[in-house]
Amino acid sequence: MPLIRVCREDELAVGEARKLPVEPPIAVFHAEDGWFALDDTCTHGQASLCEGFIDGGTVECPLHMAQFCLKTGAALTPPADKPVAAYRVVMDGGDVFVDFER
């Protein structure tokens, strides 16, 4: 299983996110209750979820406010009605990795 290194744990504060330049891109979020990884592109528009607003266990699309569950990728509110893929995040030795398998 390919692990992709994202960053050091202390590089991203709670509420911040980073985009992994894979194709299609993956967004990695540091939320209050942990680290999460989702497909970066909103299923409604062409927006980048890593630029979205992290609120509790959700991220809100920066364009039209669709909310996705950080844990599962489920679309929680319109205008999105399709989920984004979710990936496992692995912490190892102070580094953050995404278990990247499509």
Binding site: G15, E51, G52, F53, D55, E60, P62, L63, H64, M65, P78, P79, D81
Partner: protein, 411 residues
């Protein structure tokens, strides 16, 4: 057999109501009727993407796919016009004569684009943007257009003007106000957008008093528009003219049925009209705005979606959602604009980011927030408005200060 729920209008409010009814366990028959023959589509792309992309169709931005409609077990009656509402019998008469009786009816009929009561406003080449057919007809004429004039400095007019300019056409942007967009957004936001749009190539005619739309040859019946004549005599040449001068609620069914109607169908917090069993939601619904005490309609996507969902909850006797803080967006070229809450006139501008952020204060509380390309500031502001907590003006104004900290401090 119990009667179906009838929804008139398959756009944001109507589809949201259908989804919410099913999500909350309504298992009876559900009928969604729309005069528009196209499968339900999103309207926001009509003033942007459709005008910029020559080949895009409604299938690229569905509001409800055929699979979703099937999964929701909806009876879709598209291309069918409702002629009459009988509010006592809770029945609809369709063009063609069919009569449908329901246990409840939702009017989500939206609105129609206003036209100008000026000579020439019905000439060939003069367009409005409300339906997919409108946008496609406009796009077909834009292919060969030499000069375009957009009348209106609101959201639809501005979005369309910017989208068409991006395709390389010269666009005259004509507004009666001295400053377009300023009736919607705080001044700093309007100023920023106007400057950006002028730089992108729009030619602004502000404070314009339009006398008439002139034809290429007025002696020929069916002549095409050739320009917009202002009262001073100046003619702005244009072979395609777009009227972006607002909408009127499509409230004729309710009016004829004797419901309370005045610039929209009057509804309460549960989207109930004055007739028991008849609900209204979206652009057609008018309600008393708590902040101003005035009768208002919210002509925005999210309001329509929320109102449709609220009507569904009310039909099922479920607890109602709290009143939503108004929020809307507008995409104008590369400029993503958002606004939440309302303006107070006590505005504080924060610069230094991707675009201006304006906070509208009511004493030490936040009442409104708007931004260009800084959506997360609006999302934080929205939560500050909803929380009703006091805010520190110094933090709001300082581009280096963390806005999130305002949400984290104990109330």
């Amino acid at each position: 057999m119990s009667l179906p729920i009838l929804i008139v209008g398959a756009s944001a409010a109507g589809v949201s109501a259908a989804r919410t009814l099913r999500a909350n366990g309504f298992s009876g028959d559900l009928v969604l009727i729309d005069a528009d023959p196209n499968p339900p589509y999103e309207r926001p792309p009509l003033s942007k993407r459709v005008l910029e992309e020559p080949d895009v169709t409604g299938a690229a931005f569905p509001l409800l796919t055929a699979d979703q409609a099937q999964a929701l077990q909806l009876e879709l009656r598209l291309g069918q016009r409702v002629l009459r509402l009988d509010a006592n019998a809770l029945a609809l008469t369709l063009a063609g004569g069919a009569i449908l009786a329901g246990q409840a009816i939702l009017l989500a009929t939206g609105g129609k684009a206003r036209r100008l009561a000026l000579p020439g406003s019905d000439l060939a080449g003069v367009h409005v943007i409300r339906s997919l057919a409108d946008a496609e007809a406009l796009r077909a004429e834009l292919k060969t257009a030499k000069a375009v004039a957009v009348i209106g400095g609101g959201l639809i007019g501005t979005e369309a003007a910017v989208a068409i300019a991006r395709t390389g056409k010269p666009v005259a942007w004509i507004d009666g106000a001295q400053k377009p967009l300023a009736h919607i957004f705080p001044t700093a936001i309007a100023d920023h957008l106007i400057a950006a749009h002028l730089e992108a190539g729009l030619t602004l005619h502000a404070g314009a008093r339009i006398k008439q739309l002139v034809a290429s040859d007025s002696s020929v019946s069916g002549a095409r528009v050739s320009g917009v004549e202002l009262e001073g005599g100046e003619v702005i040449a244009a072979d395609v003219v777009i009227l972006g001068v607002g909408m009127a609620p499509e409230d004729g069914l309710a009016r004829a049925a004797g419901l309370e109607v005045d610039n929209g169908v009057h509804v309460d917090q549960a989207q109930r009209t004055s007739a028991p069993g008849v609900f209204a939601a979206g652009d057609v619904a008018a309600f008393i705005d708590e902040a101003s005490g005035l009768l208002k309609r919210h002509e925005h996507w999210r309001a329509a979606e929320a109102q449709g969902a609220q009507a569904a909850r009310a039909m099922l006797g479920l607890p109602l959602a709290d009143a939503q803080t108004p929020w809307f967006w507008s995409d104008q070229g590369a400029h993503h604009v958002e606004m939440a809450g309302h303006r107070t006139g006590d505005a504080l501008v924060r610069l230094g980011g991707q675009g201006p952020i304006v906070f509208e204060l009511d004493g030490d509380r936040l009442a409104g927030v708007a931004s260009v390309n800084e959506p997360n500031a609006v999302r934080i502001g929205l939560r500050l408005i909803q929380s009703g907590r006091s805010v520190d003006r110094a933090v709001l104004a300082d581009p280096k200060a963390d806005l999130l900290a305002l949400l984290r401090v104990p109330a």
